[in-house]
């Protein structure tokens, strides 16, 4: 990206007496906040800045020029599915009709409730499951909600002993963390040399204390877990449920559905698979789906459709309420303020409608094509630990020795160096040092919205970086050179922590 640096903070632009807002005149006489009295009123002054409108606009515009997004360039961040975020979706989510107070009676929110239900049904068909809640706010929140469903299911049967959950060693960090928040103990199952779950190692872990097993398929190495029917059978046989971490759903679209693989509960990241913007760390959306028989355990409130007969019997036949909110007594409870990140759900619906049944499967296939193309094109320069067809992403274990040096030598060119050098060439870096199975993991996920031309540029640059690593390792070790700012002192940020302007 072009070099630019804008380091000012809004507090440094403040000048007493400036305002950036306009409010109506006070039309009410005889009411004053001062009447609340000193005991209940704020005594300390705020440090809120005082700025005019243009100052604020320029400030954030200049800041944005230091930022790299999908609209700026290729973003091959593994496990993050950084696909193009269509602009139509941004337009539609802002329609004034959607700006409802959450406690608006259902009768006046029929459009939003219908949209929720349509998305719910669409996801259920894509996943091969029965019903979805769209209330969870993000992937990790979806995991937590899904695990709560599993625990609620066991508790509803009076089976209180199932307090352990099996998680593969290659799992996303959120899996064990969500399980811990949910009050479950984690039992780790090892991977085989080919990166997939070791079924023989799994068997002895199964028993009456197992609530279920969490998996992502394809796994975090981008490999399809071929043994999944057998794994699901074994876990079900011991009384557990199968949880699908939907972070890697993209390549499976329309080809092989989690429900058909044997999963009972799953979440989908709308901000990955269904193109809603990541927003620099949210808001996302993590809908949770369940197999038939588990619907009643989903969180409240639930959006329901009334039977046609109920419509006829309605007291007010002129404005029938086809959709309503419902709270189920068997539900695990509430996990969100209301129906989740509704604005994100609108965007995902626009995307699903645009793609339709023809293009939803194409998205997955083209993402797999792109990933394999990069993998085959770069294995000459980067170490490919597992040589097989991958799905939407794959992992290199750093540079090959002839380019980056021996991985055991302290001065070898690391994955971090490669990642930082990529920034100089106008690409976002891949995910680095994850999964933890390899020391120099470089996890690449191109999505279907990237063209062969972009991939060819990326491949050429990755090869050039490998050549640079051989010829001039220092160039990489001091990279990036052409970004708005240079490598950060991360240690200083921890040792001399400064989290606010006041602390500077």
């Amino acid at each position: 990206m072009n070099r630019t640096y804008y380091g000012k903070l809004i507090f440094e632009l403040s000048k007493p007496g400036r305002v950036g807002y306009s409010l109506p005149k006070n039309e009410y006489e005889g009411y004053s906040l001062a009447d609340l009295g000193a005991t209940l009123s704020r005594q300390t002054k705020t440090i809120l800045p005082e700025c005019d409108e243009l100052t604020v606009v320029r400030h954030y515009t200049n800041m944005s020029n230091n930022n790299f997004g999908v609209d700026t360039g290729f973003y091959p961040l593994g496990s993050c599915t950084m696909k193009y975020n269509p602009k139509l979706n941004e337009e539609l989510c802002q329609l004034p009709g959607f700006n409802l107070h959450p406690m608006t009676p259902a009768k006046y929110a029929q459009g939003s409730l219908k949209l929720y239900d349509e998305v719910q049904r669409t996801l259920a068909e894509i996943a091969g499951l029965s019903r979805f809640t769209l209330n969870p706010y993000a992937g990790a929140h979806g995991e937590l909600t899904g695990l709560m469903v599993i625990r609620q299911y066991h508790m509803s049967r009076g089976d209180m002993a199932r307090t352990k959950i099996i998680v593969p060693d290659s799992a996303h960090g959120t899996n064990p963390a969500s399980a811990a928040v949910c009050g479950l103990q984690i039992v780790e199952v090892k991977s085989l040399a080919d990166g997939t779950v070791d079924v023989e190692a799994l068997k002895p872990l199964l028993g009456p204390d197992i609530a279920g097993m969490m998996m992502t398929n394809p796994n975090t190495l981008g490999l399809f877990e071929r043994q999944i029917p057998e794994i699901a059978r074994l876990v079900h046989e011991c009384g557990g449920l199968m949880y699908y971490d939907g972070a890697n759903l993209n390549p499976m679209l329309g080809v092989c559905r989690p429900g058909d693989m044997g999963f009972d509960v799953m979440h989908i990241n709308l901000h990955k698979t269904f193109s809603t913007p990541h927003g620099g760390g949210g808001p996302g959306s993590g809908p949770v789906g369940v197999r038939k028989g588990l619907e009643q355990f989903l969180p409240n409130p639930q959006v329901i459709t009334k039977a046609p007969n109920a419509l006829k019997d309605s007291n007010n036949p002129l404005s029938p309420t086809a959709y309503d909110l419902h709270c189920d007594d068997e539900s695990l409870g509430y996990i969100s303020f209301f129906l989740g990140n509704f604005g994100i759900i609108i965007r995902a619906y626009a995307y699903l409608l645009s793609l339709g049944k023809e293009n939803i499967p194409m998205a997955g296939k083209l993402s797999v094509l792109n990933a394999n193309y990069i993998k085959e094109s770069l294995r000459s320069h980067y170490l490919l630990p597992i040589d097989t067809v991958c799905k939407h992403e794959f992992v290199f274990d750093g540079l090959r020795e002839e380019y980056g040096g021996d991985h055991h030598s302290p001065d070898h060119v690391t994955t971090l160096d490669v990642a930082k050098r990529l920034l100089d060439y106008g690409f976002h870096a891949p995910t680095i040092y994850f999964p933890l199975l390899f020391h120099e993991a470089l996890m690449i996920e191109p999505t279907e919205t990237e063209s062969k031309d972009t991939l060819d540029d990326f491949i050429a640059v990755m090869k050039r970086i490998a050549e640079e690593a051989k010829a001039d390792p220092q160039l990489l070790k001091t990279a990036p050179h052409d970004t708005p700012v240079r490598r950060m002192d991360d240690v200083k940020a921890v040792k001399e922590p400064k989290f606010t302007y006041k602390m500077l």
């Binding site: 109506p24 704020r42 645009s354 293009n359 296939k365 094509l369």
Partner: protein, 461 residues
Amino acid sequence: MPTNVTSPSLQGRAGSGSSFKYFPHTADDIQQMLDVIGVRSLDDLYAEIPEEIKLHRELNLPSEKSEEEVRCIIQQLAAQNKPLVCFAGAGSYDHYTPSVVPFLASRSEFSTSYTPYQAEISQGTLQYIFEYQTLMADLTGMDISNASMYDGSTATAEAMMMMVAAAKKRNRVLITKTIQPAVLAVVRTYAKFHGVDLVEVDEKDGTMDKDVARQLIEKDDVAGLIVCQPNRYGIVEDLTGLADLCHEHKALMAVNTMASALAVLKTPGEWRADIACGDAQSLGIPMGYGGPYIGYLCTKEALVRKMPGRLVGATTDADGRRTFVLTMQAREQHIRREKATSNICTAQGFMCLYVAAYLSLMGPKGMQEVNELSYASAHYLHDALLKTGKFEEVFKGPFLNEFTLRVKGDAKVLREALAEKGYLLGVPTLFMPGCLTIASTERRNRQEIDNMVELIKEMAL
């Protein structure tokens, strides 16, 4: 190609390129790429998947739609909603959003980026989060803020888990029953599954019964107390003495506050609380049928290592310039896995930009004015409703912009009749039959209030 894997139409599409606006692949591109990979078709890329679990049919979904068709469908859905003039709150408030805020938020350099792991090309995101952290820490009167939680209810649940984690051997957390019901419901769920012994402190005359809280805290087995400001009836509670009591008994105190009110009400810091949490939707974020909003969580510096979520810190780059990075990541799930302070990963980062831009425009004067106007309009409405003779007071407590009244007659009928006329009068007060909790903001003008009150006068209840 195994013919049963995909529909003939898909094979045709692959053969002739994708012909879809979000897919750039031409037929030649696909062929060349397949050749490099060494497979014959796209379906060959899925050869390892057992046939019995593949989907041997098309998805049962509608066909692709053109841009205009999609626009039309979603516009029709929006038109089936009927936004009402909003006199409701209960955690979501209809405040004014300066046009600059959504305009700046539409900059896709911000919105289409990921969590700022690569700090060298993410200074925009990191800097607005740093500003957000500063602003929220300042508003709450605490030392530090994290880079957002999902919403106010999950932020409060995280505060509860923080208390238990900080206390080590204590597992009991007290929470006032006067907190917003939507918050209490979520905290209960988290407590149930996380194994926290959540004790709900009874209320008396519309505020938490401090004597009950005191007796519980004096048992010396409480990790923390969660109180709120204003409460579910709109009442501003007097929290005097509670923090000292907690601290004497080695418990923490958290205050849940509607964020806009922090500018004028005694802050969690001034109440000597250890944690401040709540929803920042009231800082200019549209009601949007419940989301996206942004939860905030602030605390004392001493508790930073117990804090969930992302934290942005200042540092310097190789050229010595002031820069910003994600820091203290050793607390987080991608490093600590099951030992992390929380499972939170993606939260509501982008909404930090909304909050930072909003507060930058409003400044101290604007925040004072917004609260002054909301206070005046809510009190005017309160008095006007009482004058109709169709409402009566329930509690005497002071309020900011939300209050609870009992309807003399059928509250449900009144609320529904007003909705027919285009007004959303409050929300039914939980466990208080016949009562409505009603809110107003600076967006409601006197004419709207007078018109609605006239309608109420004419109604037979």
